[in-house]
Amino acid sequence: MMDDFEKQIQQALQRKDPSPFFEARVLATVRRDAQARRARWRMWWASAVAASLLIVTGSAWQYQKIEHERIAGEQAKARLELALKITSVKLQKISHKVEQIEN
């Protein structure tokens, strides 16, 4: 049997609900994960085939292609980081402004 104090603790720790879009976000994440796992399997298979071809043909052209993709990927990553940096900084400033107005 719980005493009154423990019942107050139970009240304080009542279950809370997540935000309204939470369920949709989780479903989207799960779908993306399932697609990514299928794509990773396909990519693994494609890489295995490509690696075999590389061994068979000994083509330096394929190595160049992979290297070009790596450079393009690193550049895309850098641009993504820049975009996120600008967006995050602006949103932080807006958030502070809203807090100041509401206080």
């Binding site: 309204p20 949709a24 393009a72 641009r79 993504l80 940096k85 995050s88 900084v89």
Partner: protein, 189 residues
């Protein structure tokens, strides 16, 4: 595309986020600006960038998850040496593309003191966020962010302090940089 656009307008539907147009006045601002940032990452480039985000680094893995479902990130930012280098009419023309019911303005903050206006607009489809636009206009700076896909503004805001992204405190000062920035500075020495 030319035949489809008038039909869309006749139906009164808002343009899809990826068809957001920059008015001609804004598009030519690069020539007047002292600093320009123009980032255009469509779905394919986002996927490519994501591949190079490490699953082993907590921050990069978090960003990877954040941008995983996005279809595009477009950022245009202009800094000018002088004030009033862009027209408010151009901003209004740009803003007019985001109309209810598809779009809603969730934040609008104006400061008469420093002439700064900030807005956050969200597009929703079936109760799910499908687009985000941030417009910040200052006398010597204009920033427009357009993100297509499901992402919450607070998730982007909370990247401050991670992956070299500055964390801004309430007074506007930049807080401590994260490990990544410190490592980079060490490498540059």
């Amino acid at each position: 595309m030319k035949r489809i656009l008038p039909v869309v307008l006749l139906l009164g539907l808002p343009l899809a986020a990826q068809e957001i147009k920059m008015p001609p006045g804004l598009d030519k601002l690069a020539a007047k600006a002292s600093e320009v940032v123009d980032v255009n990452l469509d779905g394919a480039l986002l996927q490519l960038a994501s591949k190079f985000l490490s699953d082993k680094d907590a921050d990069e893995a978090h960003v990877k998850q954040l941008v995983g479902g996005l279809k595009g990130i477009f950022v245009k930012s202009f800094e000018f040496d002088e004030a009033n280098q862009y027209s408010q009419a151009d901003i209004e023309e740009f803003r007019a593309q985001f109309r209810p019911p598809a779009w809603s303005r969730i934040v609008s903050a104006r400061s008469k003191k420093n002439g700064e206006n900030s807005e956050i607009l969200l597009k929703t489809d079936n109760n799910q966020i499908s687009g985000l636009v941030v417009i910040v206009t200052e006398p010597k700076e204009l920033t427009i962010v357009n993100i297509i896909g499901n992402i919450r503004p607070e998730d982007l805001r909370d990247l401050g302090g991670k992956m070299g992204i500055p964390k801004i405190d309430v007074g506007g000062a930049v807080k401590q940089s994260d490990k990544k920035n410190n490592d980079k500075k060490e490498d540059e020495k």
